[in-house]
Amino acid sequence: MAKKEDVDYFLKQSGIDSEREKIIGQHIGYRYDVNLLPDYSRLTPFLKEYIAHMGWEDLNWLEDVHMGYEEGRPAVFDRNINGWVTVPSEMKLPDNQQDRDMLARELLVKFQMSPSHPLVQLNKAYRKF
């Protein structure tokens, strides 16, 4: 990922750069740095409140959540539905990946805990005990 210095690279480009990618017609690897460690000085008030509520001392599972870029749109991957949740178009993106990651974390928590989350419907339909 180091060669992709521009934070908007995957919003502007398809990511099909190498010979191999051109042959197979798709980008190889993630469209964000999965190993990027969070900068805790950039925690949002919502995330601080969430951490305190859960009784944790840090972001815990959210350390693995980043803002990705799918089909030219900013999005966050929700492991519970195995799909991308796109960031609303009216939402202004910060100019650096660390702040974008914090935004993605906040958005994902709100989505997962929402009564509109698809797992709520699945739970009602299929829960056995």
Partner: protein, 281 residues
């Protein structure tokens, strides 16, 4: 999947199905009122405490009792006399303080999502397998495949662990105060593993992504596991994480840690196909 139609593989007729998946429109408002827990999670109070004596109680009944107590709002549960039995405290999908006084057998705390677990004893094979979120701290040693397929959260063993630690881990953090056995981080896909002591043979074998930090000696590196220089962000993160669990060396330094990452030579496995064909022929 931009660019598929103009690729050489498409011209050769290799794409006959849609690869991009299907979009689903959901009605979700980021500003709507929502809690910090899953919609169907039990409301618990950390100050409300209960105890379970596991002596003579079946594993099934112990797990059901934990669930019942959470349903009644207990946020702190103390489990006494677990007797190193298997599959205890599995499938807890709630915020909870769980204190286990004793040791667990195989597959303890598997599939958990959210609780903070403290174990005063040891744990057997595959502890916290498929853990999604939360914190697990083990005061003594752990068996093999510790944190297998871990997805998220902090998994801490203050002693030493067996082989294949974090096999197939897809996220989260594993912290080991002592040593780890052979093939630790095998097929790791993402997440972080910190070993304060030594690591056995074939560390990070076939890892696709993720990061391993080792404070002691590494017996040998596995296929495609390569050292990388530590950044300031790495050092800061390591210091913070290790001090959270009282594992930071007395001098406060993490400079002796070696960082291991994927060499990414295995990402395009079909590059090996010609070799395979040659072997078959």
């Amino acid at each position: 999947m931009a660019g598929v139609k103009s690729s050489r593989s498409h011209d050769m007729g290799m794409h006959t199905e849609q690869l991009s998946g299907r979009a689903m429109q959901l009605f979700f408002n980021a500003e709507e009122e929502g809690g910090f827990t899953y919609a169907d999670a039990f409301e618990v109070d950390f100050n409300k405490r209960a105890e379970i004596d596991a002596e003579g109680v079946s594993v099934h009944d112990i797990n059901l009792r934990i669930r019942k107590l959470m349903q009644e709002g207990y946020g702190t549960i103390v489990l006494k006399n677990p007797g190193a039995r298997h599959s205890l405290c599995a499938g807890i999908l709630n915020r909870l303080n769980l204190i286990i006084e004793g040791s667990l057998g195989y597959f303890g705390c598997g599939l958990i999502d959210g609780p903070n677990v403290r174990i005063s004893g040891r744990v057997g094979w595959s502890f916290a397998e498929n853990m999604m979120a939360g914190v697990c701290v083990i005061e003594k040693n752990a068996g093999s495949t510790f944190g297998a397929a871990l997805r998220g959260g902090d998994l801490v063993c203050k002693g030493s662990v067996g082989s294949r630690t974090g096999i197939d881990m897809k996220g989260g953090t594993i912290l080991i105060g002592g040593d780890t056995g052979a093939f630790s981080g095998f097929m790791m896909q993402r997440g972080r593993m910190v070993v304060c002591g030594n690591a056995g043979k074939n560390l990070g074998d076939s890892m696709y992504d993720g990061t391993i930090y080792v404070g002691g000696e590494i017996q040998s590196l596995g296929v495609d596991a390569v050292p990388e220089e530590m950044s300031d962000l790495d050092r800061e993160w390591l210091k913070r994480k290790l001090s959270m669990y009282e594992l930071l060396p007395k001098d406060g330094s993490v400079d002796h840690f070696t960082k291991i990452v994927a060499g990414r030579q295995l990402w395009n496995y079909d590059n090996l196909e010609p070799t395979e064909k040659k072997l078959i022929l």
